[in-house]
């Protein structure tokens, strides 16, 4: 079975802190994605990557950056966390246009 893991299920950070969210997949998928999910807004794409060291902005990249140094790992970075980044963060991986496999999510609270 495909497995996508995220480094934390719950995270509490202070405003201004640098936050790293890690995602690892074990199926050699080319594509990896970071979404945030907020009530009433559904899933919104922050960034995605279609190859090592390659990245593209999604719909809401402001305040975020990403890193993909290895194929299996895709990191989301909040350079200076703000309260409006309190959300559920979901990582996913896929092969091209096919099924996306999601991690369990990280619920981030920024105080």
């Amino acid at each position: 079975d495909v497995k996508v893991t995220q480094s934390s299920r719950y995270l509490v950070k202070r405003t201004g802190e640098k936050v790293f969210l890690e995602c690892v997949q074990d199926m050699d998928h080319e594509n990896m994605f970071w979404y945030r999910q907020d009530p009433g807004l559904g899933l919104r794409l922050i960034y995605f990557s279609y190859d090592v060291k390659m990245k593209e902005k999604g719909d809401i990249p402001e305040g975020y950056s990403v890193s993909r140094e290895k194929k299996e790992r895709f990191s989301l970075i909040l350079e200076s966390a703000s309260t409006n980044q309190t959300s559920m963060y979901l990582c996913a991986s896929s092969v091209l246009q096919e099924t996306q496999y999601f991690g369990p999510g990280t619920r981030l609270l920024v105080l």
């Binding site: 559904g42 279609y50 559920m88 246009q97």
Partner: protein, 111 residues
Amino acid sequence: SQQGEEDPQALSIQEGENATMNCSYKTSINNLQWYRQNSGRGLVHLILIRSNEREKHSGRLRVTLDTSKKSSSLLITASRAADTASYFCATDYGTGNQFYFGTGTSLTVIP
């Protein structure tokens, strides 16, 4: 926004009844997918239907796609309490590397 829209936003039915939820989208697609999300968890892929397909079945799930109306429906037959979850449609655009998710239908199945 290229985001899809599910309808209804919330649905409550008795166990054993059928549940139907709909998804509308805005531009041409390569495929459309349905996902389920249990409360506080990641999304789980249910079914993928390609743009040249009109209907697809998987167990108690039946998905239809009408590309002329830019809409899809998900039917869950003989619902069970365990089907209680949020259901999302996702569509890909252009190169297909990005997926756009709707805001979801929250289904409650009452035992």
